[in-house]
């Protein structure tokens, strides 16, 4: 890869090599494909769907997405040659998952997810998938540096291609989930409601996917 060696001098003086557009795009695309296949294709193969069997479908998605995301972002991190050993990256990423799950599940509750225990498993599964998409990449690349996290999630000011590759999909997933949650109260009894949301099958997850992909292609 020719672009791999291209270095960028950031305004804080930190020298980092960007992995390059092609690598970013291809690995991002891989994550996206893994998500789609995991959410739609594989469950469909086993006769499941997201509405009827949310937990099983999300498990399918996780089985594909989690390794893909870990591998993709670790590779990206390696390409950008940051000064941390790879095992620490993966370790911090995996450690961040439970924490991220809890935080995102709490957020979901704040947004009105049902509080009864009956739905707890679904909420947790969803939160785990979201944290794979949102928290895991950031944890792998950024480690535990609070200013970096703050810069990306509070100020939305990523520096360089790699940070963009964290920031944009994460925001895409969050906004996608937000957008996908809004039509939930619809009862699908009128034609326009079905048209608006492209059949009942759309839920927050497919919206997550749509937005992630959209942002990828928009940016790179």
């Amino acid at each position: 890869m020719a672009d791999q060696q291209k270095a960028e001098v950031q305004d804080d003086g930190f020298l980092s090599r960007d992995p390059g557009a092609i690598a970013l795009l291809s690995l991002q695309g891989l994550c996206g494909v893994a998500l789609v296949v995991g959410v739609k294709t594989v469950p469909a193969y086993y006769g499941l769907n997201l509405i009827a069997h949310p937990v099983a479908a999300i498990r399918c998605a996780l089985a594909l997405t989690l390794p893909t995301v870990v591998v993709a972002y670790t590779l990206l991190y390696i390409f950008s040659s940051r000064p941390r050993p790879v095992w620490r990256c993966i370790g911090s990423g995996l450690l961040s998952l439970p924490l991220g799950t809890v935080v995102i599940a709490l957020l979901a509750l704040a947004f009105g997810a049902p509080t009864s225990l009956q739905y707890a498993s679904r909420t947790l599964h969803w939160a785990f998938l979201m944290s794979v998409l949102v928290v895991l990449p950031a944890a792998i690349v950024l480690g535990s540096s609070w200013p970096d996290w703050q810069r990306i999630f509070a100020f939305t000011r990523p520096r360089g291609g790699l940070e963009r590759a964290i920031c944009i999909p994460a925001h895409g997933a969050l906004i996608g989930a937000w957008v996908g949650a809004f039509p939930m109260p619809l009862d699908w009894e009128r034609p326009w409601q079905v048209a608006v949301t492209n059949r009942q099958g759309i839920s927050d997850l497919s919206a997550v996917f749509a937005f992630s992909v959209f942002f990828h292609f928009f940016r790179f």
């Binding site: 704040a110 009862d187 409601q193």
Partner: protein
Amino acid sequence: MMEGDARCRLVALFCYILCLHSLAIFFFTSGFLLTRTELPEFSTCSDIAKSPCFGETMDFSGTVSSEKVTGNCDDIVGDKAFCSQNGTIPEPTGGGGSEDKLSKECWTKPAIKRAVIIIIDALRFDFVAPSSSFPGESQPWMDKLQVLQQLSREENCSARIFKFVADPPTTTLQRLKGLTTGGLPTFVDIGHSFGAPAIVEDNLINQLVRAGKKVRMMGDDTWMKLFPSHFSVAHPFDSFNVKDLHTVDDGVIREIFPALLETDWNVLIGHFLGVDHVGHIFGVESPLMVEKLEQYNRVIEEIVAVLKNQSGPGGLHEDTMLLVLGDHGQTLNGDHGGGTSEEVETALFALSMRESPGRLPLDLQSSTCTISTEVKAGRSQCITTFPQLDFASTMAALLGVPFPFGSVGRVNTELYALAASTWPLPSEVGHLSEALVPVWLERFNHVLCMNSWQVKRYLDAYTASSIRGFPSAEFAHVQSLYDKAQTSPHFLHTDHPRLKRNDSGSDLSKFNEYSSETVTRLIDSIQSNLVYLLAAADLARTQWTQFEDEWMVIGLILLVTSMVIHGVALSRAMRLTQRILLSEDRDSEVQNRLHELFPLRRMLLACGGVAVTAGVIWGLQMTIRWLKSPLAAAISHGQTNIIITALILIASVVAYVMPIYGVGQVQSDQSVLGRGQTIGTSSQDQWTCVKSYMAVLSVGLHACGLLSNSYILSEGQVVCFLLATSGILYLRQAIQSGCKVPQAILFLILNAGMASVGLFEIFKDPATIASSSLIDDYVPASYSLQQFVTLACAALITTVLPLFSLARLILRRARTILRLQSLYWATAVTIPLAYSLLVIHWFTMDLVSSMVVEIPQSVKEFSRLLCPQLVYLVSLMLLIFTIISMTLNARGNVSTSYRDHLVEGIVSMLAGISGTIILLLGRKGPTIVLLAVLEVWCLLDLQGVEDLNQRKKEADKGLDHQDEHLNGRSLGSYFGAAVDWNLVAVQLFFCTGHRCTFDGLHYTAAFVGFDEFYFYRQGALLAADTFGSSHILPVIGLPLLVTAAAVAQSNPSFSDGSFFSLEVAKVYLCYGLVRTILTAVTTVCVTLQRRHLMVWGLFAPKYVFDALGLLVIDGFIVIAAIFYFSLFSRKARLKMQ
């Protein structure tokens, strides 16, 4: 001077908006909400003497002697056997039954002794009618009620299927009301009942009971709500649980078969709910529906078998009629409520146990017969349309009771003919079967005559007493039809004296005298009566079921224009603020600007001009009658004063919006604006931008949601979602600025807490739990004690703790906020007093209901009635004291700033009201109020974050930020804050357990502390419970947003009174704008969806709540503005001295 003028103009502006809104809502409501006045009159037996149907010789009063009645009877129908009905055993000749007759007979002669009415809820027409009569494929749910089809095919003269057409709203309660009263229940029936749906109008069941007939009921408990004390025996089953498919049906089946064999009833009503529930949950296409229908098929088969067994001569069911009917249809999804053909078309099956001997003449059949189909058997079958409106009259005629007073239906020809007893007995006619028809026609004509008279009497009475009578032109037309029907030759017994005394001659000679000419005249008379009745029903239907689109459009236009007024007023206020801040001399220019805030003179001129012009045109039109242009006709036809009012309003709006500037003013205006603009853009933060976009988006999403009925149902969650979004933005902002992060997180948590506060089981009223479990079955004392302990703990956690912390919070803050000593002490005394009274009240109620400890009667009464009354009194006193001391005592604290003064007033007022509000909200009250107070505190605290952030950023950039803050707060940030405020208010409405439906009103709250019912007092309490926490408190507290901003910006201009009142006005305008937008969108949605299924179930109540809420808010904005502005002006005057 200037300041006082500005305040007057602002108050005038709010008044103007209130006026505009109330007129808009008045116009829309009178076009949309169909109202009908319930008349309290009842039909009685003796009434009929006043009708012309008996001729001038008749004196049919209740005190008439038995001989006279007998003679009367003979005169009219000439048939003794028919006359003497309804004894225990029918007598072939009217021998000794005169006493019996006197007590039982009324307007018509009973044709059937007993009726079995099986109601199948949500019975679609295609469940019953043969599938061959529908185009297309036969669906799985068709032809499942085989027994009905078979009977109607095989026994053509005694069984029939009718297409039974309901009138919207097609909900069970309204339909049962319509079926029994023969009227058209509308959305708002103005009556004398408060909350209870019991029918106060005259109705079939009431007439049956008055006539001494026994009515048995089993099934849907809606009947019990409508007729709480009418049934001799009732087996109601809960209809509330839609998911329960079988309980009601099984109960009915269990009860109905023994009842069929008993003798102590005349009308038996069995109401099955299964089809409705299956439809609601699984839809029509589900296999469960087929199962249900097959079950009904079996049940009806068995019922028919039982009835037929007993239907021999002298048998129990000799003169019984079986009716199987639906109250309304349903769509394929199982919805109903609207007016689509699927919902209104249901079926009526009638089976007479005795075959009627004759056939109707074709003239009468063809007039109503619409669908004619070839059935497999090869015999043509006719399915007649039968409006549900006619059910009450027809059943009253058949059962021989007076027609309900308010019925506008007509006796159905074919159902009446189906009952064998309406025909002369074959033994009398002998072999002359052709004479059957004339006799029947004469009887039917007589019945119709009474029917017409009864309908006319009702229409006259309604026109005389209702709020909105019938349109005069149409009413006159209908009256002329009645006169025509009456003048047509229907007094056959006076025209043809030979028919009069027919009982003396032989039957043969009598019937020979019916010439074909007489038959034609009879049919003519019947037809003209039918025409009249049809026209009367149509008149009633247009009055009670059709919207008046023009009125709705006028209302909508006014609402939208009021939004424009809000916007223009806001932008003018913004410009005025800039001018005050920028121009050193505050003289003439500012004065001009001030006028622009509410240009009273200009608007009065415009209104006066339009009014005079309209008056002149109208006067011309009135005086010069020959001016017959179409326009004049339209004006004279329509409601002139309404058109003129609307024109005047629109003229005032135009006058308000159109600015009239001099040239010099425009230039200076632009220059100032230019300066303002530069300042505005330089200080325009990215955050403010994002926040205002988010605010617009959030209002937009909220408004879009109102289009869908499911969103309206879950509006509480939608609001929580939007509020959480806003909370996330605050959190982001807080993290950026590095401060107030805990507040933002707390805001999110409180938001979730508010949303779920209604879900917890623990918040259910302990009293109801205790009473229900203790009264239902015997509970051992030890268990009861244990239960009591847990209840006490629950009560402690849910009520006392929040109440205590709330009081602590208030008192602690009061020490710093309330600088006026008297006010502080008043609050410090009254709040603990009110709260402890609350605790005493609740605890004693719990103790009483749990019956663990014996409580003396006096203590019980004290805590039940006196405590709440004391709380109301204390609240009111604190409120009045606050207002008086704030307005009078401003002298005492000239030193305090406007801000502190404002906060002082708001806090003590809110504290005063809190006691009443908590009491009315019930035991959830303390928790909710505590959460809400904390949430609002977070929200207010977070308002300052953006300014802090901005200042920090400017400090980073090394900018001199002295200039920027002159701008006051930008419109965007006020709008954003107002949107959040509104979301909190709406959330409060929902989390306090309110819903936008009328059965969601907390009627019990109206009786906290009072036993007797007084309309105004209880109405005020109910209004305070419904709107208090979600509409009134937010309006009173809204200026806190200004004070929060004033804290954040240590702005010198905030020490200026007129500036401060302008800011307060801006906040109120923003809040009013948000509410107006939402109400306008609701109104538009209601207009668009006025043919929707759920229009009466969801959209209309939502509209009513929103519209009322808007008016409440507008009214309180005016009151609050007057109060706050008077505070400022008094203070300003003091400072000047």
